[in-house]
C-alpha cells in the first residue's frame, strides 16, 4: 500500500462523505424540527434522480441547471407529503413513534411501486453532462468533478442552512416551533405551516443531492435503498437534531468507509461504518453533536 493509495482513498472518502452529508441533512432537519424520521428518505432521493434524468432526457437540461428546479419540485413534494400523511401520523394518539415509522415506510413502498409502474424498472443514466465523466488530477490524486461539485454544494448548503436557521424569520420560526410547538401557536405562528415548510426544505435538500448524484450514479426504482441506511447512520452518528452533526457525520462515514476498505476486504467496508456508529453511541448515547 503506497502513500498515494492512502491519500487517494481518503480524498475519495472525503468527497463521498460530504455527499452523504448532503443526502442526510434533509433527514436531520426534519428530525430536528419535529422528531420524525422519514423512512422514505431514500425514495425522495430516487424521485429527485428521476426528475433530473427526465429533464435531461426530454428537454436536454443539464443536471447543474435542473438542480434548482428539482429542488423546487421536491420542496413541493415534501410539503405535500407532510400535509397528506405526516400531519396525521404525528397526531396519532397511540404509538406515535411507530405510526411515523410505518406510515413513511409504507410511503416508501408505494413510491417504489409507482416509479416501477411509470418509469419501468430499466436502469437509466444521465449519459453526458457538464460535470459527468470529468476528473481533476492533482499530483496523481484524482478528484472526480461530479463528487467535487457535490462536495461544494454540500458545503454551500450547510453554510446556507446555518444562516437560514439563525438569521431569517422563517428560520427562527422553525427553531421556535421545534423548541415549543404549543407556545408558538400562542404568538400566531401556524405550526402546520412551519412543519410543511420544514418538510419542503428537507426534501429540497435531498433534491439537490439527487440532481448531483444523477450525474454519476445509475437510476432505478430501488436506488434509494443503497443510500437510506447510510443516511440514517450518518444522522444518528452526528446526533439527531443537529444539522452540523449530519455534516460531520457524513464526513466521518465517508472517511471510515474508505479506510475500512483499505484494511478489510471491500465487501466488509460497511462494517467499519456500523462499528464506528456503535462505538460512538455506546460512549455518547446522543451521537456526537446531538442535543436531544
Amino acid at each position: 500500500m503506497t502513500a498515494e493509495t492512502i491519500i487517494q482513498s481518503l480524498a475519495s472518502g472525503l468527497l463521498m462523505g460530504l455527499l452523504y452529508g448532503l443526502i442526510a441533512v434533509g433527514l436531520a432537519l426534519i428530525f430536528g424540527l419535529m422528531d420524525v424520521v422519514n423512512f422514505a428518505h431514500g425514495e425522495f432521493l430516487m424521485i429527485a434522480m428521476y426528475a433530473t434524468f427526465f429533464l435531461f432526457a426530454f428537454f436536454a437540461v443539464d443536471p447543474l441547471l435542473s438542480a434548482p428546479l428539482v429542488a423546487a419540485a421536491l420542496f413541493l413534494f415534501g410539503a405535500v407529503v407532510y400535509l397528506l400523511i405526516v400531519r396525521f401520523a404525528v397526531r396519532a394518539k397511540a404509538n406515535a413513534g411507530m405510526v411515523q415509522i410505518f406510515s413513511t415506510f409504507g410511503l416508501a413502498i408505494v413510491m417504489r411501486g409507482v416509479a416501477q409502474f411509470f418509469f419501468t424498472p430499466d436502469y437509466r443514466s444521465v449519459t453526458h453532462s457538464w460535470l459527468g465523466g470529468r476528473t481533476v488530477s492533482l499530483g496523481g490524486i484524482f478528484l472526480p468533478v461530479p463528487q467535487l461539485a457535490g462536495a461544494m454544494v454540500a458545503i454551500a448548503a450547510f453554510v446556507g442552512l446555518y444562516f437560514f436557521i439563525n438569521r431569517t424569520d422563517f428560520g427562527r420560526a422553525l427553531e421556535a416551533t421545534r423548541e415549543d410547538a404549543g407556545a408558538v401557536a400562542l404568538v400566531g405562528i401556524d405550526k402546520n405551516r412551519v412543519f410543511a415548510l420544514g418538510w419542503g426544505l428537507g426534501a429540497a435538500l435531498v433534491g439537490l443531492a439527487g440532481a448531483i448524484m444523477a450525474t454519476f450514479f445509475y437510476i432505478y426504482p430501488d436506488v434509494g435503498a443503497s443510500f437510506a441506511l447510510i443516511a440514517y447512520v450518518t444522522v444518528a452518528l452526528g446526533g439527531f437534531g443537529s444539522v452540523f452533526g449530519a455534516f460531520a457525520g457524513g464526513i466521518i462515514v465517508g472517511l471510515v468507509e474508505a479506510t475500512t476498505a483499505l484494511i478489510l476486504p471491500p465487501s466488509l467496508k460497511s462494517v467499519g461504518i456500523y462499528a464506528v456508529y456503535l462505538l460512538v453511541v455506546f460512549i455518547r448515547p446522543r451521537g456526537l453533536f446531538g442535543s436531544i
Binding site: V37, S103, G113, Q116, L278, P285
Partner: protein, 326 residues
C-alpha cells in the same frame, strides 16, 4: 379492576384455545398446498411477530434487527445438520440458546440508547452479521446452505410434499409465543413495564430491576425468533444470508404487530392473519404483471392502516382491552 383483569385473562385463554382448535382443523378441509403454504407462513409470522412484540411492544425497545436472531437460528440448525449430522431439533434448541445469549450481550450496551439511536443500533448490528455471514466460507458464504431432502421423517423434520407437519409445528410455535406473552402480561415484569410506560418517574426508582427484566425479555424474544428461524430453514430447506438476515426480514417481523396492535396480546396474530395472505396473494395474482402494482397496493394499505388505526386493528374488536393493556 383486578377482578376484570383476571376475568379478561381467563377469557383470552379460552378464546385462544378455541382459535387453536379451529386452526388445527382447517387443513382437514383445505387441501390446496398453495393455500396451506400461506397458512404456514401466516402462523410463522404470527409467532415471529409475537416474539418481536415482547421486546418491542411490551418493553418499548423497538428492534428492527430481529433478522439477526432469525438468521442465527436458521444457520445453527442448517450448519449442525449438514456439517455434523445433528438433528434439527437439537439445532433448534442450540440456535435459540445462542440467540438468547447474544441478545443479552447486545442488550447490555444497547438498552442505554433511546429512541432512534436504539432502532438504528439494532439495524446495523443485524447488517454487520449479514455481511459477516456473506463472507464466511464455512457457512457457504453467499452460496448459502442447501439442505438435502431425503424422505419424510419427523426425526429430521423433513417432508417432501406435505405441508401439514410444518403447519402444526408453526401452530404450536405461535401458540407458545402467545402463551409466553399471555403469561408475561400478568407477571412482575409485565407490571414493571406498564408502570414505566405510564409513569417515567417510576422508571428511575425501578431502574435496575427494569433493566434486568428487559434483558430477560430480549432473551425470550430472541430465543423464540431463533426457533422460528430454525423452522424456516427446515421448511424452505435452503438458506442464504440475504434471505434470512436481510433488513427486509426484520421489517416483515415487525409489521404484523404494528398493524394488528403493538404491545397487545392479539395484535401480532391479527396482523399476520391479514397481512401475510394479502402479500402472498397480491404477489401471486398482481405481481406477475411486472409493473409494481402489488407494491402500490401493499404500501398504500400500510400507510392507511397505520394512520387510521394507530392503536392497531385490535382496536376494532375491543375498546376495553386497550386500556387494560396499556
Amino acid at each position: 379492576m383486578d377482578k376484570n383483569f383476571a376475568q379478561r385473562r381467563r377469557r383470552d385463554l379460552v378464546v385462544a384455545a378455541a382459535f387453536a382448535v379451529v386452526a388445527a382443523l382447517v387443513p382437514l378441509f383445505v387441501k390446496d398446498v398453495y393455500v396451506q403454504n400461506i397458512m404456514v407462513l401466516t402462523l410463522m409470522y404470527a409467532a415471529l411477530s409475537q416474539s418481536w412484540n415482547i421486546l418491542s411492544g411490551y418493553c418499548g425497545q423497538i428492534s428492527l434487527g430481529h433478522a439477526l436472531y432469525f438468521g442465527i437460528g436458521a444457520y445453527t440448525t442448517a450448519l449442525l445438520f449438514t456439517k455434523f449430522g445433528v438433528l434439527p431439533w437439537f439445532g433448534m434448541l442450540g440456535g435459540g440458546l445462542i440467540s438468547a445469549l447474544i441478545a443479552m450481550a447486545l442488550g447490555y450496551p444497547c438498552f442505554r440508547l433511546r429512541g432512534h439511536y436504539f432502532v438504528i443500533a439494532t439495524i446495523v448490528i443485524a447488517e454487520i452479521a449479514l455481511l459477516l455471514f456473506q463472507n464466511w466460507n464455512f457457512a457457504g458464504a453467499a452460496l448459502g446452505i442447501d439442505i438435502p431432502v431425503r424422505h419424510d421423517s419427523w426425526l429430521t423434520f423433513q417432508f417432501t410434499r406435505s405441508k401439514l407437519p410444518y403447519f402444526y409445528f408453526a401452530l404450536v410455535l405461535a401458540a407458545i409465543a402467545w402463551l409466553v406473552t399471555w403469561w408475561l402480561e400478568d407477571s412482575k415484569w409485565g407490571y414493571w413495564w406498564r408502570a414505566v410506560k405510564d409513569n417515567p418517574d417510576a422508571a428511575e426508582s425501578l431502574g435496575v430491576v427494569v433493566f434486568n427484566s428487559k434483558m430477560g425479555a430480549a432473551a425470550v424474544s430472541a430465543f423464540l425468533t431463533a426457533v422460528g428461524g430454525s423452522f424456516y430453514a427446515q421448511f424452505v430447506s435452503y438458506i442464504d444470508p440475504e434471505s434470512v438476515m436481510g433488513f427486509q426480514f426484520s421489517l416483515l417481523m415487525a409489521l404484523p404487530a404494528v398493524l394488528g396492535g403493538i404491545g397487545t396480546l392479539w395484535g401480532p396474530v391479527l396482523g399476520a392473519v391479514i397481512l401475510i395472505p394479502l402479500t402472498e396473494l397480491t404477489r401471486s395474482f398482481i405481481g406477475g404483471s411486472g409493473r409494481g402494482v402489488d407494491l402500490i397496493v401493499y404500501g398504500t394499505l400500510i400507510v392507511l392502516i397505520s394512520l387510521a388505526r394507530p392503536e392497531g386493528l385490535v382496536g376494532l374488536f375491543s375498546r376495553r382491552r386497550k386500556e387494560a393493556v396499556r
